[in-house]
Amino acid sequence: MTTRQFGQPLKRNEDPRLLTGHALFTDDVQLPGMLHVAFWRSDLAHAFIRSVDVESARKRPGIVAVYTAEDLGEFWQPGPLLVPPPPVEQLEFHQRTQVPLAKGKVRHAGEAVAMVVAESRYLAEDALDDVYVDYEPLEAVVDLEAALAAGAPLVHEDLGTNVSARVTQTKGDWAAAESEADLVLRRRYHYDRGTAAAMENRGIAASWDERAQRLTVWDTTQAPIAIRNGLAAMLGLSEHQVRVIAPFIGGGFGPKIMMFYPEEVLLAWAAVQLNCSLKWIEDREENFYATTQERGQIHDAAIALKRDGTVLGVKDRFLHDAGAYAPYGLTVPINSQCTLLGPYVVPSYRSEFTSVFTNKPIVTPYRGAGRQHGVFVMERLLDAAARRLSLDPAEIRRRNFIPPEEFPYSNEIIYQDFAPLVYDSGNYEPALDRALELIDYERFKQEEQPRREAAGERVGIAVVNYIEGTGIGPYEGARVTVEASGKVSVATGVGTQGQGHYTSFAQVVAEQIGVDVPDVHVVTGDTDLFYWGAGTFASRGAVVAGNAMHAAATKVRRKILKLAGEKLEAAEEDLELIEGRVQVKGVPQTSISLGALAAEANPMRGAVQPGTEPGLEATEYFGPERGATASGVHAMILRVDKDTFLLEIERYVVVHDCGTVINPLILEGQIQGGVAQGIGNAFYEQLHFDENGALRNASLMDYLLPTASDIPNIVSDHVETPSPLNPLGVKGAGEAGAIPVGALFAQALDDAYRDIELEVREIPLSPNRLFELVGEALTRERA
């Protein structure tokens, strides 16, 4: 190999199409006679439905059909449980999953009660005015602690409780750690809800072809294959009668892997019922209710340490807001529970959580998927301990790192993929040192901060660590084909939502086949082009699909070499693949192009020999035994306007270790996008529910997403500790940027107000909240 493709900061293959408006998104699908759908959504969070009257809506002009739960007949079924509870002893779990249309009861504001199919979206929305729902309003379950109190209203009456699940996991002996400790600190932390707010809302187009007896569904899903399988089963069709296409998607972030959204099953069902094509595009207001959310947790945590800062144990008890239904099982709270341990040696750990049903939109993973909560708790505990022990925050972290020679390192508890929480590899101290160097930690603390504080400024510095379990199974697959044109086509089942798969996967393949990356054509997310797979989630695309690509490409490479050896009458080991040709090493005259070779492999005369296959093609699968553990350090210098409490991030550093890097440019984008979402989470974004479970800020006017002017330039660097769990040595990077940002803000603010012992114990923050917290700290200080 003379030109390396793998590891290079190549520009993305997909960008010309995306940037010039030539990529297909779901709303671009226009079919003849297409109908349009709108949903009547509950404005109450909790109410019995006495009756639903859609008769006058049905009679309006341009209305094709109006459906309620009753009209669905046998098709009305609660959705599947996507992830069953993990094999943890004495686990309590109550399964309740979302329904296509509310029947008898609404359990969160925005839950769909009726579906209107009309000749246009305008007419469909007009008809919503003529849907009459007779409610019996109920007290809403909003607060997590009140939900568990005796006599609380129940989200699911038949359960007799609002408990969705209880899980306890332990390691070592917390009681012993507590009794041995020189210092035990207890804290309560709040981490509130946010929404992913992808640039593209959800959307579904479905078309039933009666002559072909085939259903085609375009869906903004992160898991097209699972949607295909599920729709076929629900509709009584063969999987081959259903094609699901996840086209280009404007951001996934996790909520788009929820299955099955009511709209997904209803559009497909209605297309078959009405023998038509129809489309529903979620509007931004609907997105605030009908797309899943994340993050409401309350933690009561304690840490036990020796005087030198050595951690002896952590105890954590937390409540997790599941929302009205819990289709995703325990993934989010298990992530919080496991990720809390971070890159540290924590000999004793006791963590118990209660997942709680509330009358709020459903919670499923959103970038970070519970990890930021765990990181927030652990990093805050360490900060509180450092202050009490007069240690520098960076130093207390350094003293507790798992040493590099201890890997693989077992934390003894069970992770979200049901495998024991074992870190495959890691090397934490070099990353911390690099981050401190890039942020100029010592100079800031010794020189700049005192000087600026003397001039009346409020400035703080922070450095936090995290680990991220990535790249979990079960598996993904890939098919690599050299075409007669000499170009290479690649198909995989995972969908793409902006991650640059068309480039990073192409780099993995190009590395083996010896072609240029733009000559590798990648197709993702079309079930007709690749049959098997799980989906894009848990920072697993590069790890799992990437290694399947590598395996398939390696096999095609072997086929190329074998056939070329025969054609060129040369030994395989004397051949090289270079610029789309196979040649005898150093003898370019003796060569054959990949295109010619592909034609030779698919002859018009002669027979394929027994035990061989036509073509230069291979399909391979990869499934890791468990996830690869990425890690990183974020550092920041933050200035607070002491009068207005607005913040300015003056410097932001990320040092990240996701093993082998496929494309540094794409990785940089992942990190920056993640940090932007983390900043939103830390200081701008909050869903404000009132006591009735109504959302007070269901628009981008009031739900503040960070904009370009709120995001600093991010200085990033990488440490590469390859994962031993996969041939490429890669680890996932999709969520890393978002995970530790809340903890980072908290530490920086504490530092800026250390004279009055500010201690931030909640996320998200806001200027108003900071004004209150500083006011309280001042009052305490004066007392």
Partner: protein, 294 residues
Amino acid sequence: MKPAAFDYHAPRTLEEALDLLAAYGEDAKPLAGGQSLVPTMNFRLAQPEALVDLNEIDGLFFIREGERGLHCGAMTRQRAVERSGMARKAAPLLHEAMPHIAHAQIRNRGTIGGSLAHADPAAELPAVAIALDASMYVRSVTDARWVPARDFYVGLFATAMEPGELLVEVAFPQPRPRSGWAFEEVARQHGNYAMCGAAAVVELSEEGAIKKARLVFLSVGEGPVAADQAAAMLVGERPTATALRAAAEEAATKEIDPVGDIHAGPAYRRHLARVIGERVLTRATARANEAPLL
């Protein structure tokens, strides 16, 4: 998020527009830049029977100097005011406030009259209009009148205009000698709604005492709030830092009654009023004085 059906009219003359508004009464909405009205209609919070689109009426787009100072046609785009050299010179406070109005893309479409007539309590232009003693020219089929800005705002999203009336022009008096101005606001993000903002105008006497002062807040009441007591306290005073701070304190504690929302509670808004009030008075005085504070 699709609007309910409505009739659409795009008259070419002001007279036609006024006829339509008279005919529909409260059932029609004039459409200027549409930056507030159209989203409200998409949410179906507003369902007017008809829109009278003013964008084809050439006579409503102008910036010129006239007998009342700087005159702007109601349909003049905010971006045009922002970039006008004449406006910058004749109404520097207005010029300073313009970039705080949402984002440039919105100002390209949004109009000066649309914002003034919409009377959003978080809007910049109403506060500026009061601080500058601007006046609004209001027309109907039967009537034409100039309304002082101070009398134009009568409550939450409410103005002194009757159904059938249209704001067609606004005039800002020329700056007085030895006067200075300042505008500032605190928003959670650039381009977002202000949690508190203030416009100030300070005029000094030849002796350097304060001859006249204006301090008008936005986002702390049902409309623009003129802090007249604070302004009165300053008249005749030397503009010392202490006096300016005391005036801001007076305004923030006694003259505003902010309600909270999800972004800013009443206490924080009051705190911001104190901070911003002092900042704008200080800057306005410095500009009036062109000399360091006493």
